[in-house]
């Protein structure tokens, strides 16, 4: 079923052009189609619902403003948005103080629902990873996030970033090496055997 519950024959760029011509229905369809993706990306990177909402709203506002000048065919709307969200999240992460977790206080959850301690550990993992991702060059960060968070294949990433599959492989490998270096010494603190 299409994400927005309507026909998907119109791509995002065409809807954006219609929006810029004053078509209110295009605004509704783009909102329904894009906001869940934008919000999910921000929430995954930031781990904070209120901040994720702010980033999603700001990213979409930038899309509405640029709509009249959008150059169809030069970039995919989703890729452009992905970069905007990634950069907005990075800005926030760089200003955010690091959180730490006391593993001694963490016990295994008794049932399916995560215990408060497990949630703390998950938060610490997500924060540590997000902080490390924020230190990567933009294209490396996008390649790693698309690969591991979105489950995109290398050819899909190549298409979205407008680069070759070989370049994607190189970016991902370099990105992961940089992440490993940034997270060096934190494996045990995050509950892994490093």
């Amino acid at each position: 079923m299409p994400l927005d519950g309507q026909d998907q024959t119109l791509d995002d760029a065409e809807l954006l052009a219609r929006y810029a011509r004053g078509d209110a229905d295009a605004a509704r369809r783009l909102t329904t189609r894009l906001v869940p993706r934008v919000h999910a990306q921000a929430a995954r990177l930031l781990g904070d619902g209120a901040e994720a909402e702010d980033v999603a709203q700001e990213a979409m506002m930038r899309l509405w403003r640029i709509a009249p000048e959008w150059r169809t065919g030069e970039a995919k709307v989703t890729t452009w948005l992905y970069r905007v969200v990634s950069n907005l999240c990075t800005d926030r992460l760089r200003k955010r103080p690091k959180r730490t977790v006391d593993l001694d206080a963490v016990s295994e959850p008794a049932d399916d629902a995560p215990s408060p301690e497990a949630r703390m550990l998950n938060d610490a993992r997500r924060d540590a990873l997000a902080q490390a991702l924020a230190g990567l060059p933009e294209r490396q960060r996008l390649a790693v996030v698309l690969r591991h968070f979105e489950g995109a294949t290398n050819p899909e990433i190549a298409e979205r970033l407008g680069i070759s599959v070989e370049a994607v492989e190189s970016l991902t490998a370099r990105g992961k090496r940089a992440l490993a270096a940034a997270l060096k010494g934190q494996a045990e603190a995050l509950g892994y055997e490093g």
């Binding site: 004053g22 591991h148 490093g194």
Partner: protein, 120 residues
């Protein structure tokens, strides 16, 4: 196994754990706020589409438009002239290169760097 592989194993696990976390539901009020923004920022139906701006035009607009650029050129020329005037009392290579020194020398009859005076 290579040490780097060990590092990447726990890193892969970390990426999987964070990536597998369920996506947050999109709050309905966020959707409403975004749509409200969209409609507020939307050009009126039938409005003339803005043509994509060129790099030159973006730079020009960044400087404040043609009027500002005209003022910038005038200010630059004035500053250059003032600078040359300031050099009058203390010659430099730049000053000699302009040829302005020739007027000065002609007025007081000093040519050939004063050698004519030494020769009587």
């Amino acid at each position: 196994m290579h040490a780097d592989d060990d590092k990447e194993m726990w890193l892969d696990k970390l990426l999987d754990d964070v990536g597998d976390a369920p996506a947050a539901d999109t709050p309905a009020d966020l959707m409403a706020r975004v749509l409200e923004d969209a409609l507020a920022a939307q050009p009126a139906p039938g409005a003339v589409m803005a043509t994509p701006v060129s790099l030159w035009r973006q730079m020009l607009e960044g400087l404040g438009g043609w009027m500002s650029v005209g003022g910038l050129v005038a200010a630059t020329a004035t500053g250059f002239a003032i600078g040359l005037g300031a050099l009058g009392g203390e010659p430099s290579d730049l000053y000699w290169m302009t040829g302005l020194d020739m007027f000065y020398d002609t007025d007081i009859g000093l040519t050939a760097y004063g050698w004519d005076l030494e020769e009587g």
